[in-house]
Symmetry: D3
């Protein structure tokens, strides 16, 4: 069950409101790298967690934190929209700076939300929940979470560079810090479970006779003219310790040429396909 405190998890101040930066910040709320995504992803992973219940707790606790991130970012968007233009005046139409602001800001910040945050990204595209990755496989889910936090920290760093506002920089430095921790805590789960080698291949419960092992350890160079990029993936022991990496170049197809034959009458095809 959830509860709430009236204060924000972190302080938010904006020295000089910037409607364009409000648009950018939306990426951290409703983008695929944003906070709605991680809040909901950890929440749904927690609800589906099976096995040691401490991972469910871990997920739910951080889901709860991410909800608080949405909240202070939403406040930051609204503060950046303070004083934004809400009417077109003759004078403004000739001021290139005002024109650039009007052209550049998200029009729905004026037209739809009345100068506050929306659950959309920086293009105004609403977040959709298909991005909530929760598979029931703990290793996959932890990797999805590290990925999400990496994308999140990349985004927060880029946003940090896009503003000169001290308040915004301070808030973003907090987000950058929390993303640092969250990257590591999901990786720490994998370490606790015995490390990556023990988790691979994921899922590690797939019986070996369900796998065509002769195809499991070669890198396939599908290029006609480019040499194989040499690296850890082309030689040496496989990361799961089961085999050695090799390379297959200029591969021949192993299958047949597909042929579906004629169309059945009654399937809405043309005569030429049935005949």
């Amino acid at each position: 069950m959830f509860h709430h405190s009236a204060k924000l998890q972190y302080k938010v101040s904006v020295d000089k409101p910037d409607p364009l930066f409000a648009k950018y910040l939306q990426q951290a709320i409703g983008g695929i790298e944003g906070e709605i995504r991680v809040a909901m992803q950890y929440f749904f992973q927690a609800m589906g967690a099976r096995g040691d219940s401490k991972y469910r707790d871990l997920l739910m606790m951080t889901a709860t934190e991410e909800l608080s991130h949405i909240e202070f970012l939403g406040h930051a968007v609204a503060l950046n929209l303070e004083g934004a233009p809400i009417s077109e005046q003759e004078k403004a139409a000739e001021d290139p700076i005002v024109n650039a602001i009007l052209g550049g800001m998200n029009p729905r910040h004026i037209l739809s939300s009345g100068l506050s945050a929306m659950p959309v990204n920086s293009n105004g595209v609403p977040f959709d929940m298909s991005h909530v990755y929760a598979t029931g496989n703990i290793a996959t889910d932890m990797l999805a979470n590290v990925t999400a936090e990496s994308g999140g920290r990349v985004l927060a760093s880029r946003l940090y560079n896009m503003t000169d506002d001290a308040g915004m920089k301070d808030m973003l430095s907090f987000l950058i810090a929390r993303d640092t921790m969250h990257q590591q805590q999901w990786l720490a789960v994998i370490e606790e479970l015995g490390g990556m080698e023990k988790q691979l291949p994921i899922p590690n419960t797939t019986p070996e006779d369900h796998e065509a092992l002769e195809h499991s350890y070669y890198f396939l160079n599908t290029s006609l003219d480019e040499p194989t990029p040499e690296g850890r993936w082309t030689e040496g022991k496989s990361l799961d310790g089961r085999s050695e990496f090799t390379v297959v170049e200029k591969p021949e197809p192993l299958g047949q040429k597909p042929d579906l034959g004629k169309a059945r009458p009654g399937t809405g095809a043309q005569k030429a396909q049935v005949g």
Copy 2:
């Protein structure tokens, strides 16, 4: 530039067509765990790759392989739809097995595609390209790729369990094998770049003074009644070697209670908000 061979990368045969399994297989084509996603994800990562060009090559070569996976899966769907019911007959209406098939199969396999594969998942929801994760940050992208291949192998293993058809099991065992390799090759890139510790935190180019380091290494227990789940993430050296993990329990808010004040006249609010 791309080229094509007429034969499939791997052989596809179906002993006993099963329209319901055709629906399930769609998840491996147009699901977020599916082949369109990885093909396009590696393709777009390759097109945006900066730094050592061998990673671009690696990405493009595997993108090309994934396109071939779409192709043989698409053929498998069509073969599973051979002989599917295309008309309702009085007799069928009373045969519970036929009814279950008609009720259970994707109606668009009859109505829209004429008994062949579509770029949709097992619910018939079309794949959308927002799931192509490509950030320009190689560590994030590699993690996104391991995640995708882990989800893919989980899915292929589940599909393997859902069929008794020898041909389908054989094809899926090939997919399971290739996903094994692909998981490892993306992790091997991280290993080549010096291992995870060196890559963390991601991005590792964010200047330290952009980060509120005092918030970077504590686990936040946001629960009111649950003890902190102890683990690698609550004590010991942080995974990036920069600090030690600690815990903050029952955290107090660090920010203010938000207050946006009154609405501006002319913003479409109610009088009660402006007044």
Copy 3:
């Protein structure tokens, strides 16, 4: 800032797991009538609330409650998926009941989530955040909220009818009760603000000279052959007390026939359009 308790807001038990009912319950999680929607809608309205701050508090408190509803519904879905078929066996293929279950359940409950809840509706369509209605106008938002809770209680009542499971009926009776309260609390806000008459027309800050008042109070019968449906909307004082309702039948167009003329050269039109 958000916090969490380990226990659910309301108890959840399932006497006889039913994978088909798990699919139905998804509508209450990820449907437009569901809990993600109201949780996020109240959350975003709260973040954008201007005017008397008590409405912000009210919204945030109920947003928090709705998050708890997602949580117990998610648990209910998982419990209904206990024991669901995860492999196709020859015998099952001939058992019409098992076939009906396999055909009827959401395949992604097996293939994608590993027998747990997803943020999708009963068709497997992911929730998308465009359904988070938050306008910055308090009367509009309150009406949107009553609407959402009405749709929610309609749904919960229909779900109640679709199950014989005592545990599920008990849980749904709690949801039905809370939706009762939530319908009323949003209407009570309107009453507090002076009642509907005072709020109309919404927004009530639009200056009268922005409105073509001669078109504000007639019902337009656009039918060629049907008499005007008589009612409160065709006569008597208007609900905002500003005028009297009238009727316009078989209306004549008030505008011109549109004509965009020829296409400009260089706009990618055909010669016939430019010439």
Copy 4:
């Protein structure tokens, strides 16, 4: 059955074409507050209307009017795009006003539609029909309609403020007027049906024993530190006349801590989850 007149329902003129305003107007066509939405919502509600047939007629007549609104707004968009830049010239590249226009307008107005309206919102996001709310419950549907018309009038008022064009202001004043009427006509239906008290709780056909009445009339203060916002919703007779409002503060969870136990073998989990 539908019919058409060649002339527009209302006259449209644009004194000074403005491609940026064309983008804004799209919100009134393809936004969730726009005319496609209400046209389709009333249309589908009409097709599903059960009970007194006069409500079906009412809905269909207004659906028909809304189609006419799409039409004149579409013409307004095209007129605002007259003369928009369709080629990049060296000179323009250095004119900040032209640059602001090019940067600010919807590029698809040039690239995709050839200077005419599209069924998208002001961010260029296509309208999707999930926003057509039609539940088969007349009270819910009427509330959804008042909500839609309130959002519509808020939007039209904001658009009115964003333009100085006399023709556009005139057209919008007509829209504002019709939204006034439509808000009231849907509320008038509720009044005709006996008023809100008689309609509550919605649906009013849910048997009382399907409802956990002990949870139906308290406001839940989920905040840890904020006092309950006092108001009509915390005391006095409930709006449906069935009970009295009360408050529950700092609520204790009523349910169990969820525990799904271990994962079943064969579900694609990791060994650590199954073991």
Copy 5:
């Protein structure tokens, strides 16, 4: 401006309601081959029509007819849902036919719409307006329309085969007939404009010096092992009369190997990419 008659364009009767067929029929309402699509496509093309105004009229008249098709199909869906199961009873749970119906029908026909039509396809995916193709180029638009009507007639024919209901077959035979006409009327526009040869290449206003004509008339065989499929496209005069068709086999790339160099500092890349 639009008007309405109370009666349907065509009579609708259902002898034996079939909830599964109701689901199928949704494809003809909200599918990409359905009536909402063509109604809106012709409507938006009409609103953007430039050149001879008779094409605008033609488009608007048929748009209006398609709205009437939505209407009678919507009624057909509702009639097919008459008597559909709305509660789960112990007995039903053991009746495989009832189970197959419950598993096969769209659950939202029970849960969301209350036994009536929705603007979704047969998978329950809502129609989205990105499928309204309107380019401002009359030849492209006419081809898009023939395509839509061809897909529509394919669908109607498939639906005809999926029912034994005489009323439904009669209604569908009307749809099949109207699609016949609509296919031809859009092709007739092209014939009137001088036929396909004169319209090609589309757009026919593109200046020839904007086109690399040396690449305009060869078929590119991108296969490594398959001979060129010979046909009208490999030899003879081009269809626009400007050139002769030829073939290029096993093509060599004409471009460079792409190389984006290192990542710029400050773009959120990893050190390895910048260094």
Copy 6:
């Protein structure tokens, strides 16, 4: 099976990077008129092709070419983003040109992709695979393909006009040329199959007794006040040679007034609807 060459199909150079043009080019990658769409459309049509296998080959070969188009366009986007602003500096904030660029460019080119291409259109809306039209009917599919290539060439021509960059103009002239060929090759398939008359009506396998032929050849003038637009579609032999075109003006409805009666108890309706 697919293969790859390291070089691009066509050379790409950008003389003067232009982040705004990078945004426009996205329409040619991820727009409905773009290359992902045709690549995937031909690919899925090929996988479902029944009848003479040479059409499968033709489709697959051109699908492969379109993948190469995505590749060089993706490179063009990245080159146009070279040097784009990635940080906000005080000075820039006062330079209207820089402001216009920042306001006009896709913010996700900075925030999400790190200055490279994304699978989105020029509004930043991700491509979704519902636009892959593949029906199993060869005539419908060929028409869909001509339509797609016509939209593609319209788009490429418009893009050509929007840039002054010689490298970009050269690349676009290649795209314009290939779209010329592709338009014709799909039309040539129809010619090979006997021409349009023989293919009509589509599908030409629908038995004549499935069609209400008395409704197949009249143009329906649904306007109340506009004369029938005369043309090839109002008189003369029908294009399939089966009949003569006629006109029906001011049509009377052929169906009944719909009436669904009262709502069933237990369906979540209001008392007023059931009573």
